[in-house]
Each structure stands twice: as C-alpha cells, then as structure tokens.
Amino acid sequence: MGLRRFVLKRVLLTVPILFGVSVITFVLVNVAPGDPVDVIVAFNPDIGPAEKAQMREYYGLDQPVWAQYLRWVGNLLQGDLGEAITRNRSVNAIFMSRLPETIVLGLFGWAFAIIIAIPTGIYAAVRKDEMGDHVSRIIALSGISIPNFWLGLMLILFGALTFNLWPVLPPRKPLLHPDTLWFLLLPGITIGTASASTMMRIMRSSMAEEINKEYVTAARAKGLPERTVILKHVLRNSLISVTTVAAFLTAGIVSGSVVVEVVFSWPGLGREFVQALNARETNLILAITLFTGVALVIANLLADIVYALLDPRIRYG
C-alpha cells in the first residue's frame, strides 16, 4: 500500500474516534447543572427570568441535548465552532488567536525533549551500570516524578525572581520576537522535562537491549569502529521503540500545556481551556477537547510514518 493510501486510511479510521470524543465531551458538559447563561446572570444580577429564557432560546440552549449536538456537528462541518457566549466572541476567533501560542510552546517542549533525551539515552546505554548511567537514570527518574507546575514555579522562583534572567510574565511582543522566544525557554523546559525523561529511559533500555543482539556482535566482528556500530546499527533499531511512545509523549505535552500555560501566564489554548471550564463555555470546551484529540491523532500518524520509514519490515497498512 502506498503512503498516501495509508495516511488516508488512518485518517478515516480516526473519524469515529473523534466523533466519540465529541459525544463524550458534549454529554459530560451538558449533564452538569448550569450553562453559560447562568454564568452571565451571575455577573449581571439585574437580568430577569424572561430575558434569561430569551437568551437560552437565542443560543438554542433550551433544546434537548441531542438537538444541540446535531446543530453543533452541522456547524462544525461548515467550519463553525459556535459562539463563546460569555465572551461574546466566536470560538473560531478565540481558537485561532490562541493556537499559534500553544503550538510554539509544544514544539519547544518537543525540541527540548529530543535534544536532551536521545544523546543521554545513548550515553547511558553505552555506559550501562557505570557512574554516568546511574546519575543520568536518577535525573531521568526525577524528571518523570517532578510535578510540572512545581518545576515551573521553581524556575520562576530562581530563574526570574532570584537571578532575574527571565521576566515573570510573557513580554507583550509578537510570538516570534527574540524576547518572546527567550521567555519561552522556561515553559518549554517545564513542559518537555517529563517527555525528555521518559524518552531517555526508553532510549536507554531499548538501546541496552539492542546492544546485546547478535547483529551488533556481527557488526563488531566485521571490524567496524564502535562509533559506527552504535550510531548506525544500534541507534536505528532503538529509535523504532522510541517512536512507538511518541504519541504517548504527545499526550503528556498536550496535558502539560494546560498546566504550564497557567503557571507562566502564557496566552495559549490551555489557559483558555481552564477559563472555559470555569465559565461553562460549552463550545470552547468542545473545540479544545476535540483539538487535543486531533493533535494526538496527528502525532500517532506521524509516529507510524516514521516507524515505517525506520523499519523496513513494516509495510504501510
């Protein structure tokens, strides 16, 4: 099967999953008492019951859940994510303005994870059971054990407040301005630490396992230098196991962004999500949840493609 058909098939397979995600979220949000109108009323006590009913009718909140859902799906298919009622803005507008922030933060996290994890993983595997291995294992274990919000706070405490190397709040500059990118280092490290540690552990263990295989002895018996044996023969095989967890790591980065954006006051989708939850902003909650689903699906797909590229035994399909 060609690559294009493989991708197409995978995308089609995810449609029911995304459908499931939206149904679950929709049901969850709607079984709870309270809706955005209640939130608005709470802030404007002079709105009367008649006006409330009118608002509900206007937004279709008086209809049964299934009808609301159908309407939502219908709009979604036309690319309309609905209205953020309490904000008096369209979800599309909010979403699009926050998306780049979150994506850049996620990429920072990923980059940090890969840059740290692959070399240290190789190092630890090659130096297995030596001092360097023990030290890097303890660091990696700390990395998966440290709560990201606490790590973020500690970085603010020391990097920003004690040593004044970073501002406490994001600079009011364009996203790709050097100052902004500099600021992003701390949240990037915070969000990437857990992934870096997990990835390093997987890298180390899969590499240590591969090193014991006979093809490695065979490569050495050919007279190849150890560098080539490790960086060509062993690495390629170990990366296969690392890609299998890439999707899992992406989930970590996605959930991480919710917390980390709050810690660093970063104006991305994660912080928007927490606010939307507090305001019962159904459409915004749905949009962001669905987006996390899509992000995971894309990550999975990319991982599968990389996997197939790395391992000739895998045929697409």
Partner: protein, 346 residues
C-alpha cells in the same frame, strides 16, 4: 577431508552402568539452581534493590506522617486520635497575639517551614496536605486496575466483534489526554474527594484494559490454554486459572507506576484551583496561592518556602513511588540478567 571411512560401530559404552549405579559424588543435576517460583525470585530481587527499598521506606514514612499528622474522624467518630503536626493547619497564627507569627514568616524554630500568605504554619499544612492526593492515588489505581483487568480480560478472551467494540471505546478514551478529561469531569462535578476519584478513574482504566487484553492475546497462543480448552474446561475458569496469573505481572508494574501519576494529577487540579476550595491544606492547592504571590511579586523578600516545601513533598512522594515502580518492573521482568544470549548462546 573427504577420504572415505568405514562404518564405525562402538560397543561396550554401556550406559546402563551410569543409570544403575549409585551416584559417585554428591553432585546431581537437581542440586543446581533453586526451584523458586517466579514470584519468590521477583521478591528476592526486589528486596535486594536498594533504590526500591529506599522508595518503600520513604512512601511508608510519608503515609504515616499524613495519617498521624492530625486526628482522623469518620462520621463523627475519631478513629485516629494522634496529632503529630504542631498546629492546626487552618489556624491563622497571627490572630493569636500570643503566637509571635505573621504572614510569610521565613522558616524558624517555631515554624520550621515558615508560614504561608495567611500566616498558617506551613509544616503542619505540608504534613496534612498529602492526605487527599496520596489516598486518591491508591484508591484510583485500585479501581482502575480492577475494572481494566476485567474489561481487558473480557475483550481479549472473547475476541471478535466483542473485542472490536470494546477496544474502539478504549481508543476513544485514549484520544483524551488523561488530565484534559479529568479537568472536564471536575469542572462538571465540582471539586471534592470523590469527584477527584471519578475524574482520574474515568480515563485511567483504559491503560490497564489495553495491557491486559494484549497479554491475554499473547497468552492465548500458548499451548497450555489450548490444551485446557481441549479438556473441556469452562471459559471463565480458563481465564482465571491460566491467563490472569500471567497477565498480572505487567498489571502490577503499571499500577505501581500509575500511583505517582495520579498523585501529580490530583495536585495539578488543586493547583488549577479546580480540586478543592481555596485554602484547603492540600499540596497542589497550596501552590496555587503561592503562584499568585510569585507573579504579583511580593515586594522585598521572596517567600521561597511557600513554593519549595509543598511542591517538594509531592516530588518526594512521587519519586519514591516511581523508585518502587522501577524496582517492581525490574524484579518481575522475565528477562534475566546473565542469560542474555550473546556470542551464539541458544
């Protein structure tokens, strides 16, 4: 060498002499290797793992401290009267003129971890603060592992369309990052102990279901299950007698590693202000308050203690838990050190 050889016939190599004589020496094949069960061997290896043992002691210590920090009352009956914490965690110390304490006092002899923004004793709060997250961690893992075990066992054993439908649902749950789903649930149900349990149990079981199903599918291939089936054993007894014991090792590994994840998750919800009412002595919730102080810049001195201690407690607990999890993983791992095939071993 290709010279031709005649047919060779050996006589007089009488093997019966070996089988029928008294053994010449104490050496016998059976004497080598101990015939320990897998679990005994795993336990032995776990005991020898120093890192894991440090983890065990740390977890035990922290559990004891949270339990005995303040009395525990269930339905008005005090079942644990001991109170190790020096102060009530919600007492605002500066209201009492006798106590020489204010807001954000740095660590001192009277308040070893200092005081928080409201002038409450941080040590007492940190001691009590683990109650929710630690117990939720254990409860959630117990619930999710049991449910996932049954769910995955059913899907894996019956296969076919049952499996297909059940696993599609698992895929859907997996499409939510766990924390995102937990956030949605808590936003709906509101904060509180059992709400948090629900929030983490709902996404948590899927991992176990997938794991158990995978194990069962591979164990199903094994000869002995086929053999048991041929003998007419009933399906359910097959699952419980043969398959489950084999699948339980990876389940235990997963469970020991998940407790830490749930503890962090609970604290994260607390930190986001969704888990408990503000002011609750809970590790994450305590940090929420600190963040606001840090961002606003308290002016003058920075109350680092209010950040370092509650977060450090979470970190310490989760780290210890993961040390145990790693130890369990190493101990139960089927592959044994020293038997790794190398240089042509079979």
């Amino acid at each position: 060498m290709s010279t031709q050889r005649g047919r060779i016939q050996i006589s007089g190599f009488d093997t019966e002499r070996v089988t029928e004589r008294e053994p010449l020496s104490a050496w016998s094949e059976a004497s080598r290797g101990t015939t320990q069960s897998r679990w005994q061997r795993a336990w032995g290896r776990f005991r020898r793992n120093r890192v894991a043992m440090i983890g065990i002691w740390t977890v035990a210590f922290m559990v004891v401290v949270t339990v005995f920090a303040r009395p525990v009352t269930v339905a008005g009956v005090t079942i644990q009267p001991i109170s190790l914490a020096p102060y009530d965690p919600s007492t605002i110390l500066y209201l009492d003129p006798a106590a020489d304490a204010g807001r954000f006092d740095p660590p001192s002899l009277t308040n070893p971890m200092g005081t928080d923004a409201n002038g409450r004793d941080l040590l007492s709060r940190v001691m009590v603060g683990g109650r929710a997250s630690i117990s939720i961690g254990f409860v959630v893992v117990f619930i999710t592992a049991s449910f996932g075990l049954v769910y995955g066992a059913i899907a894996g054993y019956y296969g076919g369309w049952v499996d297909e439908i059940m696993m599609r649902f698992v895929d859907t749950v997996f499409a939510f990052p766990a924390l995102v789903l937990a956030l949605v649930i808590v936003a709906i149900l509101g904060g509180g102990y059992w709400q948090l349990v629900a929030a983490f149990a709902f996404p948590g079981w899927a991992t176990y279901a997938r794991l158990i199903r995978g194990e069962i599918l591979s164990v199903k291939q094994n000869q002995y299950v086929t053999a048991a089936r041929a003998l007419g054993a009933r399906d359910r007894s097959i699952i419980f007698k043969h398959v489950v014991p084999n699948a339980v090792a990876p389940l235990i590994v997963q469970a020991s590693l998940s407790i830490g994840t749930v503890v962090i998750g609970v604290a994260a919800l607390g930190f986001l202000g969704l888990g408990f009412p503000p002011g609750t002595p809970e590790w994450g919730t305590m940090l929420d308050q600190t963040r606001q102080t840090l961002i606003q810049g308290p002016g003058g001195s920075i109350p680092w203690w209010a950040t370092v201690f509650p977060g450090g407690a979470i970190f310490l607990f989760v780290m210890a838990m993961n040390m145990i999890g790693d130890g369990v993983n190493d101990a139960l791992d089927a592959q044994q050190v020293g038997e790794a095939p190398q240089g042509g071993g079979e």
